[in-house]
């Protein structure tokens, strides 16, 4: 096969691109995806007081500022070597789970909805949120918007601001909540549980009741036998805010479980000349290329991988869904990329339940929300599960707490190799035989990509939440464009 070298400088035109190279028989030879790169993040941070990183890193991108705020705050706790006040920790976790509710809900209705509720082959003009609300009804759309507004209200009560929280300080949070605020949070989180259950029911009715969709989910074109990564609590249940990082294999067995601060001993990054974005892999298994199986260090870090890497959910309703998920899809691990959408809804229910548990805990209004640091360690790692995968923030400072070094591994980057593989496999499965490449088949290839909910906003520190995407099919010999689909704002 002819070698394809892609020069990122001339390739990039300010948006994400998936390029599929096919031979004369439309057989897929190679698939690349590219994204724009932002520059100078480390330089921007060096020399600033480390506490500022909890306010700077959320601005890398508008999609998951709360995840960066939490990872940064935890890294800063470690830099100062301070134990977090128990109520401060609870408030952080309550805010964080509420953010998950918003993020996962939005993903389902806006992103997965068009593919599953409208159908992958539906008219592109209708395959959008407006088409979705035409089908599910205005009442559901209104309920989703209300849920988002209430979640924003809760987040701003703890976070101080709706969009970029500022509450996280080394040792806890900046302020306690009142009993009145708590009462409101109990109400809001109770409504979130109901909405999560409603959404799971909708998924049942629309997706699982449709054998065509179930076959698509289970199809080989959308399946990858990789390792799975996720954060777990002391009982090996899924946790988004804190715990150990657990990795399980394609055989479902635990490969390793480690403290976030030791991530460099477990994760290495492979580099390809055509991509700004690195390809993290498991050190203990090694890089064997873009292949799956027990011998390849490629892993996933996503809602699906978190379920696979855990022994269950820590809340009762979500646990029941977790069990149903594996019963329906044939046991652990589930490696079907499109099942990520269902896994995301199981997590949505857990996040709502966990937020409600925290809001109803009497300790949540304890005014003692922060321990003041007394010394400095000068290095710290903060890890959370961001909606799109495990998020690592690693800071080093001088003895005055001024930043000297910053390293981030963000959610989407973890999945870089797996996404590339999924794209290629989906393209191979779909672009077989015949010269016609339909808009529907290109959309199916995009579906493989969208299941990861990829966000390159911070993966290479790119534009805030704005990722127009282009899928192009080119002849490998001629480089002529055979088909192309653009998603533009």
């Amino acid at each position: 096969m002819k070698k394809v070298t892609v020069d990122p400088i001339t390739r990039l035109e300010g948006h994400g691109k998936i390029e599929i190279f096919v031979d004369d028989d439309n057989k897929v030879q190679n698939v690349y995806f590219q994204i724009p790169e932002l520059r100078g993040f480390e330089r921007f941070c060096v020399g600033r007081p480390v506490e500022e990183l909890a306010r700077i890193t959320p601005r890398i991108c508008g999609v998951c500022p709360e995840a960066h705020h939490m990872a940064a705050t935890k890294a800063i706790d470690a830099v100062f070597g301070v134990e977090v006040a128990p109520t401060g920790r609870m408030l952080r976790e309550l805010l964080y789970n509420t953010f998950y509710v918003t993020d996962h809900t939005t993903h389902f209705y806006i992103l997965a909805g068009p593919d599953f509720i409208m159908g992958p082959e539906s008219d592109p003009a209708a395959r959008n949120i407006l088409g979705v609300i035409g089908k599910v009804g205005l009442e559901t759309a209104g309920a989703m918007i209300k849920l988002r507004a209430e979640a924003a209200e809760l987040i701003s009560m703890i976070g101080g601001k709706q969009i970029h929280p500022v509450c996280g300080l080394p040792g806890g949070v900046s302020q306690a909540i009142t009993a009145e605020q708590r009462d409101r949070m109990v109400e809001i989180t109770a409504a979130q549980i109901e909405f999560a259950q409603f959404t799971l029911k909708l998924f049942d009715d629309v997706v699982l009741a449709n054998t065509g969709y179930v076959d698509l989910i289970k199809s080989d074109a959308f399946t990858h036998a990789t390792y799975n990564m996720g954060m777990v609590d002391e009982d090996d249940k899924v946790n988004f805010y804190d715990g150990k990082i657990r990795v399980t294999g394609p055989d479902g067995q635990e490969l390793e479980k480690f403290d976030g601060k030791d991530y460099l001993a477990h994760i290495a990054e492979h580099v390809e000349p055509y991509s700004y974005l690195t390809y993290p892999y498991l050190k203990s298994v090694g890089w064997k290329g873009f292949v799956d199986g027990m011998d390849s260090g490629v892993y996933k870090a996503s809602p699906l991988s978190r379920l696979n890497a855990s022994d269950g959910m820590a809340t009762p309703l979500a646990q029941a869904e977790y069990e149903r998920f594996y019963e329906t899809l044939g046991g652990k691990p589930v490696q079907a990329t499109l099942a990520t959408h269902w896994a995301r809804l199981v997590e949505l229910l857990y996040a709502a339940e966990r937020a409600h548990e925290l809001a109803t805990d009497p300790e949540i209004i304890n005014p003692d929300v922060r321990n003041i640091p007394t010394g400095i360690v000068g290095e710290g790692v903060g890890v959370v599960e961001a909606p799109r995968g495990t998020l690592y923030h690693h800071y080093k400072t001088d003895d005055k707490g001024m930043v000297t070094n910053v390293n981030l591994i963000v959610g989407t980057t973890n999945n870089n190799a797996a996404i590339s593989m999924s794209l290629k496999k989906a393209a191979e499965g779909i672009l077989t035989g015949g010269k016609e490449i339909s808009e529907g088949s290109l959309n199916m290839i995009e579906m493989a990509f969208r299941a990861y909910d990829p966000c390159f906003g911070c993966a290479t520190h790119t534009l805030p939440g704005d990722m127009p995407l282009e899928v192009t099919v080119k002849g490998e010999a001629t480089r002529e464009v055979i088909a192309s689909v653009k998603r533009n704002m």
Binding site: G14, G40, D453, G465, M489
Partner: protein, 157 residues
């Protein structure tokens, strides 16, 4: 909010060089004086959150940086005035996480929200929105003053 109210919304990212220009102009405008019925806000996010911000206003004026494709032949600092109708597309989602302005407005209408009758966008062609920094490039810094004057004229300040 009063009937006939106007929202001026500066959008962008304050740590991404020229992408901060919309926020800067809104900040300067907010220093006043402003005519009655005009509110100024800054927003670092778009999509559905935008829908929540613009509800209830009769008129919305958005100020944001723009990065046009090379074939558009625009120079950094060039100011382009759009109206909502110019964004009418196919409601395609460009990103996993946000929806376009037009889709957000249409969604609001369908939900029966009190949506603005008029949406105007002042877009400033950026030189660099890919480097972290708090400084604007010279042509964009220069354009900020011109856009401020245009917005003031628009709101009768």
């Amino acid at each position: 909010m009063t009937a006939g109210s106007t929202l001026v919304l500066g959008m962008g990212n304050p740590i991404l060089s020229d992408d901060g220009v919309g926020l800067l102009v809104a900040g300067r405008l907010a220093e006043g004086p402003l005519p009655p019925g005009v509110e100024v806000r800054q927003s670092e996010v778009a999509g559905l959150r935008l829908l929540e911000l613009v509800r209830g206003f009769t008129r919305v004026i958005i100020i944001d940086a723009l990065k046009s494709p090379a074939e558009a032949g625009r120079e950094p600092g060039q100011v382009v005035r759009y109206e909502a109708k110019d964004f009418r597309g196919g409601h395609r989602y460009g990103s996993a996480h946000s929806i376009g302005l037009d889709t957000a407005l249409e969604l609001g209408h369908r939900l029966g929200y009190d949506m603005p009758e008029e949406v105007i966008v002042f877009a400033i062609e950026a030189e660099d929105v890919e480097t972290f920094g708090e400084e604007l490039s010279p042509p964009v810094a220069d354009a900020a003053g011109r856009v401020l004057a245009l917005v003031r004229e628009e709101i009768g300040a």
